[in-house]
């Protein structure tokens, strides 16, 4: 098995995508003061902060940013196959009557977003919830759609979409790893 890597977004393109998402949010949501941004841990968090920073620059408004770990709301917690360390959810603003923007790095099956929606509902009743993602890679298993998308990437289901962000990984890059099976399948692992 070999792995082919294809770069999709570099630092500049990531910055442009986030800027465009920010403008779209400001265009869609009339009352900017009602905005609240929730980043899904781990890599939705820095994107959420960047969007908030850009809104501050453009509109001089401090939009509250919350962080959410969805592990406790996953529908596969009992399988324990690939259990991540649970991180702490930190939403310090009132959700009632907010227009909440939920932010994640990659939208794939939609199950993470389903878990995040369940969790938000337990925290309060926002006026609206919209979804912003840096990458939409398709293959949804639930009826979930993003309102703001940085880039659509066609992938096969076994591909890995890797997002690295400066805050967590020291660099901004998005790439796709594709497993290429050797023609005689003996080579597989």
């Amino acid at each position: 098995m070999t792995v082919a890597t294809k770069a999709v977004l570099d630092q500049k393109k990531i910055a442009r995508a986030i800027t465009r998402i920010t403008h779209e949010i400001l265009e869609q949501v009339d009352d900017h003061k009602s905005l609240g941004i929730i980043g899904i841990l781990t890599r939705g968090a820095p994107i959420a902060r960047r969007i908030a920073a850009q809104i501050k620059e453009l509109e001089k408004i401090d939009v509250p940013v919350g962080l959410m770990d969805i592990s406790l709301y996953r529908d596969d917690v009992h399988s324990k196959l690939d259990q991540p360390v649970v991180q702490t959810t930190d939403i310090l603003f009132e959700l009632a009557n907010r227009n909440v923007i939920l932010v994640d790095d990659v939208l794939f099956t939609g199950r993470t977003i389903r878990a995040a929606l369940s969790q938000i509902v337990d925290f309060g009743r926002p006026k609206t919830i919209q979804l912003a993602v840096l990458v939409d890679r398709g293959h949804r298993e639930l009826p979930i759609k993003a309102d703001y998308v940085g880039v659509n990437i066609p992938t096969s289901k076994n591909d890995m979409v890797v997002v690295k962000l400066i805050e967590n990984d020291g660099e901004d890059i998005v790439f796709v790893e594709t497993e290429k099976l050797k023609q005689d399948k003996k080579g597989k692992n």
């Binding site: 406790l72 324990k80 360390v85 649970v86 702490t88 959810t89």
Partner: protein, 312 residues
């Protein structure tokens, strides 16, 4: 990605430090959950937990029960006074019948040391020790460690004194293994009649003079003195115990600044600890109780769904 090296929690002896760290780190998350308006997450939906209490308990039982409810588990409570144990049913038969009703986890408190281990041999459920005889009470020690870690940031290098009935206290045993594994130095203090044989094998400093034990310590964990021990002649009178080992305000002068007073409850006020000390600002006794829920949620979460083939 990480998980515990065992699918049961029977005690802290021989539990690797990284397991304890994982439990404490996960507890931070659950500590936040119990401060939410809706103190409930759906994590253990579909998991059935039996609370099997063969001995009296207030804190531990309520704390486990709330932890289970806050994780959305289904719960069955069992206490010996209202069950067929009265009719003479054995522990093995009792749990095998309960397991036949498809339960997933058991929290057990029992007067006999080793009862939780025995359960692992006759059933498939994940077993959590809620206190067994004079052996261990691991979740109590974990919540003590969590409470101290919240205050100091780390247990490394702290001096912890455990005062009381070293011979019979399961809380002390679990505290010894836990705090030592996390890098604290542990001292034991109690009347010589309440020190076990070969106490030196714990690898702790042992004192029979409380003032010497408290010298330069950061944390004092005071154990309840079990009054039934007095009847069996292990110490002459409560009053003498209070005079020689009771934690009073005067004795605290020997401690380091920013010291912490702990007690696992239930307290005999005026016996092993004075009310003045128990209610002082350095006392974290009620925080221990709150943190206990978070730690038990973490343990339930980390053990749930763990099957035999992953290694025991």
């Amino acid at each position: 990605m990480s998980k515990l090296s065992s699918r049961h929690l029977l005690g802290l002896e021989n539990v690797p430090r990284q397991d304890m760290e994982l439990i404490l780190d996960t507890s931070v998350t659950f500590r936040e959950v119990i401060d939410r308006t809706i103190k409930r997450v759906p994590t253990l939906r579909g998991i059935t937990v039996v609370n099997l209490f063969y001995e009296a308990s207030t804190r531990t039982r309520i704390s486990f029960e709330l932890a289970e409810k806050r994780l959305s588990a289904d719960i069955v409570n069992f206490s010996t006074s209202t069950s067929s144990v009265k009719k003479g049913e054995s522990l093995r038969d009792t749990v095998q019948n309960i397991e036949a009703m498809k339960i997933d986890m058991v929290v057990v408190r029992h007067g006999s040391s080793g009862a939780p281990y025995f359960l692992t041999q006759c059933m498939d459920a994940n077993i959590i020790n809620g206190g067994d005889g004079a052996h261990e009470h691991p979740t109590q020690a974990l919540l003590d460690m969590f409470t101290v870690r919240e205050k100091y940031g780390s247990l490394d290098g702290l001096r912890v004194v455990l005062v009381g009935d070293i011979k019979h206290s399961r809380v002390i045993r679990s505290n010894i293994w836990g705090f030592k594994a996390m890098g604290a130095s542990v001292a034991l203090c109690g009347p010589s009649t309440l020190l076990p044989y070969e106490v030196e094998k714990f690898g702790c400093d042992v004192y029979t003079d409380i003032d010497e034990a408290l010298d330069g310590a950061d944390v004092v964990n005071v154990m309840r003195i079990q009054l039934e021990r007095q009847k069996s002649g292990l110490f002459p009178s409560q009053r003498e115990y209070t005079n020689l080992f009771g934690i009073t305000k005067d004795r605290l002068k020997r401690l380091n600044k920013n010291y912490t007073i702990m007690h696992p409850g239930p307290m005999n006020r005026g016996v092993e600890i004075s009310s003045e000390v128990a209610d002082s600002k350095n006392s974290v006794i009620l925080e221990q109780v709150t943190n206990g829920q978070a730690v038990r949620m973490a343990v339930l979460y980390l053990l749930s769904g763990r099957k035999e083939e992953e290694g025991s």
